[in-house]
Every structure is written in structure tokens, then in C-alpha cells.
Symmetry: C2
Subunit: 139 residues, 2 copies
Amino acid sequence: METEFIKQKLAEKGMKITPQRMAILEAIYELNNHPTAENIIEFIRKTYPNVAIGTVYKVLETLVENGLIKKVTTDRDFMRYDGVLDNHHHLYCSTCDLIEDYHDAELDELLKKYFEAKNIPGFKIEEFVLQIKGTFNKC
Amino acid sequence: METEFIKQKLAEKGMKITPQRMAILEAIYELNNHPTAENIIEFIRKTYPNVAIGTVYKVLETLVENGLIKKVTTDRDFMRYDGVLDNHHHLYCSTCDLIEDYHDAELDELLKKYFEAKNIPGFKIEEFVLQIKGTFNKC
DNA sequence: TTTTTAAATAAGAATAATTCTCTTTTAAGA
DNA sequence: TCTTAAAAGAGAATTATTCTTATTTAAAAA
């Protein structure tokens, strides 16, 4: 992956560019499987064997705060992170921890229209994520 | 809440009826706010001051396994539990930890029809939950 | 009703993910 | 090149949750 692309992402948000931040953001893009902090640490240690665990957590927090990545909701006790920012939904495997992205502009439009017509009293909608739970044939 | 109602829920699943299990299940129904284990412990200690924390976690696990409650997905690092089992969606507050239920049969029907027509290759759908993120006027 | 026993609970130690503290290092503007 | 605020490293601390073991109990059997 282009180093410049990663640098630009950080620069756009006015973040200081460090090798650790670049490696972590790149890991999330490369892994592209809603990795945990542990997955990310394992990945970047191939290149940066000495990166501190605390640093990874701190960088992840900073990336979330700056809107470069998002936390993924799960019913497990470890956090997962998503580098895909455009509107999309998630397929959750019932038999393993796999979470895949599901992009569907038609569905987005359907939901948007539905909630334009039907508003929820006392609540202002910011975004939808449809969690689709089931099983992958491959699992 | 009716003691008999709670007892019946446990009995239906062939679970041994104990005061702790009854108190915990009742707490989830009474609180009705997707409580954490800590919320539940606080609630039941009014009645059972000596209930062990480990017991609460064990009972919650057993209730989930037996399908009497569900885990609620969040992007926080503590688990929340839901005693409402029929199909519904969740309103997540962006500014606090409030999660409210959103029941909408019309939406359920819309989604069901949509995914009957459009199947997802390699994936067998079991259920949908729409996460609606935004802000409550009251928050 | 009493006995029996597998299952459940209490208590607290152990674990694992995450956060914090403090010292050293470094990115980037002056 | 110098300066300095911010970031990283190291490892201790914290917190939610799980595990272990002895004790108690629900509920089936006698």
C-alpha cells in the first residue's frame, strides 16, 4: 500500500505523522477484516517488532477520535476496528468471529426513504447500520 | 412482577429454579434498559445483598445459552443484556450509554421482503437488527 | 417426608483486554 | 539546527469477566 496515501490520511486530520501511526492505519486497511488490537499488533510486529501495546491502543483511540477508523459493535469482550468509512452494513457469522462488510446502495436508499417518511419521536437519526446475523457457507 | 411468571420462564427451559436466577431474570425485566452485569448486581443486592458476582456472570451466561436473554452489541467494553426476545431494533444514543428498543413491524416486513428478493451470495440470513444511531432529545 | 446427588452458589484468586504513569524519544514548526 | 509539545516505550495498574474449590441446595428418587 502507498505510504503517501496513509500519510495523507493522517495529514488531512492534522495528525502528527509517525511510523507507528502509519503502520497501525495501514494494518487496518491491509487486514480489512475488522481486526482486534491483538490482530493489529501481530501484523505490525512483522515490521516493527518493538511497538508497545499501549501505543497501539492509544493510536487506535486517536484514530477513532479523528474519524479515520470506527469501532465495530460486537457481543464479545474485545474491540474491533473498521477502516471503511462509507455507509455499509455488517454480516456477522454465528459460528465464528468473522464479520464481513455488506455494501448495498439500494438498501441504504430504502432505509433513508423509510425513515424520512416515518420519524421516531424524540430521536434524531444520525446513521443506520444493519447487522445481518447468519452463517457463511464457508464457515 | 409475578414470581410465577419468572419461575415459568426458567421451567420452560428445563432450568433449575433458584432464588438467584429468579432475581437476575427479574432484574433484567424490571430494569428493561439493556443493563450491564454491574447494573444487575446493584439492583438485586437490594434484595439479595450477598449474591456473588461470579454467580451473576454465570447465571447470565446460562440465561443466554438457554435463550431467555440476549447479549446486546455495543462498542463499549462491557456486556449488556436484553430480556426482550421478539424481533426489534435498537436506538443508540451518541452522547450517552442509553439504548432503547425500537419495535416496527412494518420495517421488519420491509427488510424481510427486501432480502427475500435479494439474497446475499454465500451467506444464509438468520436475523436482522438495525442499529439506529443518533441523539435523544432528552439526552 | 426423607434421602440422595448433580447442579448451583459463594468467595476470592486468576485472567485478559485495556488504560495509565512516567521517562525517553521524536516530529515538525521556529 | 534548535525547541518543544506530542508521541512512544516500558511496565504497572485497572476493570470486566472467568475460573477454582468448598459448600449449599433444588429437585428427583426412595
